[in-house]
């Protein structure tokens, strides 16, 4: 791997200054995606700014209406959190199913969202629950956050501080993990809240997206049966050696129905 300058700022403010000062700076949090990328020499950042152990970014706070999770909170911490399990069990389940135990020990929610890997789990929850991403500069609605393959609304130098999730009436998450690697081929998060029904899909497209046809069908009847007839088009979906676009489209329906069964269960 190429060499780089390493910084370990003591505060978020210092991290922001370092990131803005660097020629081509990258944030290092859990490193579970960044390190493989660097090792394959697919990226050549000038500076790494390590925010992995900034205490101010690692927290979980819940009131009755929302759950707020700090950007460097580890997946394992979210999965085990009594507050998250009580308020949004589907979110805790999602966090507990990311990758394998080692990825959950090290990976962070902020890192997952900022990277916007098409196969990441969290984007489905963020989008379906209508979460808000709080950064050093602003609050970004989930619907405005994911822009494309490894592309988000984040501007250079902007750092995710936390994510707040409104507590839904019902929610469920189901994914089809690739055998062996456990990568998410397709994950569907369904949510029913006072503001309406939202269905978000990850793994299938360049980035997480909402499935509006299903949302419409579920508005009056939040059940697996209601989406039996919804056709999912393979157009624009990912295809790779393990999984065709047609299969992904098929799995969107299967996983959505299973997620609904779980949400209602």
């Amino acid at each position: 791997m190429y060499n780089f300058a390493y910084h370990r700022p003591g505060s978020l403010a210092e991290a922001e200054r370092k990131l803005k000062a660097a020629a081509d700076g990258r944030l290092l949090a859990g490193g579970q995606t960044l390190l493989p990328t660097l090792k394959q020499r697919l990226a050549k950042p000038s500076d790494l700014i390590d925010i992995g152990r900034l205490a101010e970014l690692s927290f979980i706070k819940a009131d009755g209406r929302s759950v707020q999770i700090g950007a460097t909170t580890r997946h394992a911490t979210v999965a085990a959190s009594a507050e998250v399990r009580k308020a949004i069990p589907a979110l805790a389940k999602l966090a507990g199913g990311i990758g394998d135990p080692q990825v959950r020990n090290m990976g962070t929610i902020g890192g997952s969202l900022a990277n916007s890997d098409p196969a990441a789990d969290y984007p489905a929850a963020v989008l379906a629950l209508g979460a808000t991403i709080h950064t050093t500069e602003r609050a970004i609605a989930a619907d405005d956050f994911f822009k494309g393959l490894f592309e988000t609304a984040l501007k250079p130098g902007e750092i995710i501080k936390s994510v707040s999730f409104p507590v839904p009436e019902k929610a469920g998450y189901m994914k089809f993990a690739q055998p062996a690697s456990r990568f998410c081929m397709v994950g569907v998060f369904v949510c029913k809240a006072g503001s309406g029904v939202r269905v978000a899909v990850t793994g299938a497209g360049p980035c997480a997206f909402r499935q509006s046809a299903m949302e419409k069908a579920l508005a009056s009847n939040f059940s697996a049966a209601a989406i039996e007839s919804v056709k999912v088009s393979p157009a624009g979906l990912n295809a790779d050696i393990h999984c065709s676009a047609e299969y992904r489209a098929h799995l969107v329906g299967v996983m959505a129905r299973r997620a609904l069964t779980e949400a209602n269960g």
Binding site: A180, I241, C243, E246, Y247
Partner: protein
């Protein structure tokens, strides 16, 4: 041997290897201390499947601090002769390989230059800086395309990209088909996979004593490697010592001899410095031999009772870009063609077998070699016969098997099955999995709780312990066949036993000690095994193809028997008894029936080594050691039956293995725990091969999944518990009665899993004739089947 009851052979003795491995003290090749001043190698790999090398510019790489040299193919050609697999077989076309490509590259990953630097990071940085200009050429990638007219040629010496073409037919084959009530035809296509041991390859060459060389390599074949290194680099064999450290899994892939090993030795000679190379995972997936890229077109002539009257097989294997030492690229071809008849009494048979050249990674020996795919074919045919005739698949097999009463049996290609239990193994496996009960419970549509349920069988014979005639029959004239052992009672009475093998996880230190202790008549704790060192151990064929129990065990029994006789002679002399009255037992030499009247090994050894005042018998030589070689028969046939029970999710296509039963017969068992371990590991590899593993190439010859994130290996969550039982039919043709077991797991699992899925989906009229069976494939087949009218 059989006259004495075994004390250790047959026992579940815990492994001696475990303590140091569990503490992290196992020393694998990358863990060995490298001398100060060691040069580290990094190879520059071709990004193209087929291209002409126009120029190579190493200036930027050489400018990097710590880089000592960058060598091109032409530079290396002056140091290492082109590698030629010396196969002598009608229909085989020889061709050479430069250890570093000189003018033309023939697969993605082939080395075009090597960097030697003072640190491995610098070597890798420098390899990135070597500028190579290529003229890209069209590539031929698929087996199906290789021999079509107008395709790019891989080698001038291999016209039409046909490495090998062989034919065989019994005189009555056409008549068998002419008179048959039914002819079943099928085409089976197997995806390409690799051994993928957890430890990548590596080597370290250390010059010593002027012209001497110690070569540490993660190899399964130290003796063959040493000869090849001497032959191609000019390093005298007598001043070259190959040492094998712990090896982190081999599975056959490390039984080939690779270009990097020649380069390492040649550069250590050239620079008179130690040279080290450690492979990374991408290189492992791109350059270690691949296997199983096969196509079988099979037709069976069958009577109304399901009896196979004749079999025709057309076997195609993708040999990749080169023949690799020592097996060449035809091992899979000749193996598949010769082994397909398996446990069945098929007497009329014809094959056409072809190995083709393509611009892909060279093919070679991976655990099971041809057998997972030839049984995919024949066991797939057995199931199709059953479906066509409305018979049970198990019944069709039982009707076609060679019954135990007919053994020894020489099969249609001349291979002798001395003993075995084909029928008994299958019947016992059926009982264990409650086959009849499963069939009775299985609903007509096979669907239970949203999942299609099926059961699949593989009954097979397993080639093991091949002797010289067996390799000759397949054209491998430079593959010896024998292995050898030296058994030595030291002056203190402890026993050191040296064997030509080299382990990569098989537990040789434990199992060979069991064999030696019984054969010599000593305590197990007193025996220590030495292997993997060409300076200490006698020559042999080494460790692959399920050989070590048969060949090493046989050699040890012979050598130990000679030492035992010497112990008796000297002991009898010391006890003033006649040799006939003296026995060697439990580490003592004593008067038969009177254990108290005898001598310890140490007392006898002190006489043998002239360390006391006693004299040797008249004419007896000093020392207390002997050696022997053992070349087993043509092949040693083990056999087994595997039955898999699966559930296929009707919606997402995921296959879950719900139960897995094995009844295995490897003759006399040395250590049941280790035998079970071999089977379990092999079954997991077979499940991976059947359901997820595949080296995927695009049409330009790029491998699309050269990382462990994309080449899928089964995890603990993907495999079931295994239910294993044994039948022991000791071989009557081998010394010791042992048969091999290393490959049975993977051989049986691939067809059993495929057949179980096929059974689960049989009511949907889905034809399962390829692997791997990815969820995406099965979900599509199920969707299409359900959408079909009727």
């Amino acid at each position: 041997m059989s006259a004495r009851p075994a004390r250790y052979v047959g026992q579940e003795i815990l492994r001696r290897e475990d303590d140091y491995l569990l503490r992290g003290e196992g020393r694998f090749v990358d863990d060995l201390p490298a001398p100060i001043g060691t040069l580290h190698l990094a190879f520059v790999l071709s990004p193209h499947a087929h291209a002409r090398i126009l120029s190579l510019d190493a200036d930027a790489a050489l400018a990097l601090e710590g880089v000592v040299a960058v060598l091109s193919g032409a530079d290396m050609a002056a140091l290492v002769k082109p590698i030629v697999a010396e196969i002598e077989f009608p229909g085989y076309r020889r061709h050479g390989r430069q250890v570093i490509a000189k003018d033309e590259v023939r697969f993605v990953g082939e080395a075009v230059a090597v960097v030697a630097a003072e640190c491995p990071y610098v070597a890798q940085d420098a390899a990135e800086l070597v500028e190579v200009a290529y003229q890209q050429l069209p590539a031929v990638v698929r087996l199906e395309d290789a021999t079509r007219p107008g395709q790019p040629q891989v080698h001038d010496e291999v016209p039409g990209n046909l490495y090998f073409e062989g034919r065989f037919a019994t005189p009555g084959i056409d008549a068998a088909f002419a008179g048959a009530a039914h002819v079943i035809r099928e085409r089976f296509r197997s995806g390409r996979v690799g051994g993928v041991p957890l430890e990548p390859r590596g080597c370290l060459a250390v010059p010593e004593h002027g012209d001497g060389m110690v070569f540490h390599s993660s190899t399964q074949v130290p003796h063959l490697l040493r000869t090849a290194l001497a032959q191609y680099t000019g390093q005298p064999e007598s001043s070259l010592r190959v040492l094998v450290p712990e090896v982190g899994g081999g599975f056959g892939t490390k039984a080939q001899i690779y270009p990097e090993e020649f380069v390492c030795v040649a550069l250590a000679r050239r620079f008179r410095r130690a040279v080290k190379w450690i492979q990374d995972r991408r290189e492992e997936l791109l350059t270690d031999i691949h296997a199983r890229d096969h196509l079988y077109e099979v037709e069976a002539a069958v009577d109304d009772t399901g009896l196979v009257l004749g079999l025709r097989a057309s076997v195609w294997t993708n040999g990749g870009a080169y023949s690799t030492l020592p097996f060449g690229c035809t091992l899979e071809t000749t193996g598949g063609a010769r082994m397909i008849v398996g446990p069945y009494g098929i007497t009329q048979y014809a094959y056409e077998a072809r190995a083709v050249a393509t611009h892909t990674t060279p093919a070679g020996a991976y655990r099971g070699v041809a057998q997972p795919t030839c049984y995919m074919a024949i066991e797939g045919v057995m199931d199709r016969i059953a479906r066509r005739l409305g018979l049970d698949p198990a019944e069709v097999r039982l009707r076609n098997m060679v019954p135990t009463a007919s053994l020894p049996w020489t099969n249609v290609v001349g291979v002798r099955y001395d003993t075995g239990s084909f029928v008994e193994s299958l019947r016992q496996a059926m009982a264990m999995i409650d086959y009849a009960g499963f069939r009775a419970r299985q609903p007509a549509d096979r669907l239970v709780d949203g999942k299609y349920r099926g059961i699949g069988i593989c009954s097979f014979t397993e080639v093991s312990g091949t002797g010289a005639p067996g390799w000759r029959a397949r054209g491998l004239v430079r593959l010896p066949g024998f292995d050898s052992g030296i058994v030595k009672v030291e002056p203190t009475g402890k026993v050191t036993a040296f064997v030509s093998h080299a382990h990569s996880g098989q537990g040789h230190y434990t199992t060979f000690a069991q064999v030696v202790a019984d054969a010599l008549g000593c305590e197990l704790a007193d025996v220590r095994i030495v292997e993997g060192d060409t300076a200490a151990t006698p020559y042999g064929t080494n460790t692959f193809a399920s050989r070590s129990a048969v060949t090493g065990g046989g050699a040890f029994i012979r050598a130990a028997g000679k030492v035992r006789e010497k112990l008796r002679r000297i002991g009898a002399h010391m006890l003033e008894a006649s040799v006939e009255d003296v026995v060697v037992q439990d580490g003592r030499v004593h008067i038969a029936g009177v254990p108290g009247h005898g001598l310890s090994f140490q007392q006898v050894a002190e006489t043998a080594y002239a360390m006391n005042t006693a004299t040797l018998p008249e004419g007896e030589s000093f020392g207390l050691e002997d050696s022997d070689f053992y070349d087993p028969p043509l092949v040693t046939m083990a056999n087994a039956a595997h039955i898999a029970q699966v559930a296929v999710d009707a919606e997402d296509g995921r296959v879950t293995i719900e139960r897995y039963v094995v009844v295995h017969d490897c003759g006399r068992i040395i250590n049941p725990m280790i035998v079970d371990g071999q089977i379990q590991g092999g079954v997991a590899q077979g499940i991976g091969e059947a359901l997820m593993e595949e080296m995927v190439y695009d049409d330009s010859g790029q491998m699309l999944n050269a990382s462990l994130l994309e080449y899928l290996l089964p995890t603990a969550a993907d495999v079931p518990n295994y239910e294993i039982a044994h039948i022991e039919s000791p071989s009557i043709d081998t010394v010791g009665g042992f048969k091999g077991v290393g490959e049975g797991g993977v051989i049986g699992a691939v067809p059993a899993v495929l057949n179980a899925v096929a059974d689960a989906l049989s009511r949907l009229d889905i034809n399962i004739n390829t692997k791997p069976l990815r969820p995406s494939l099965l979900a599509r087949l199920i969707r299409e089947a359900r959408a079909r009218p009727g």
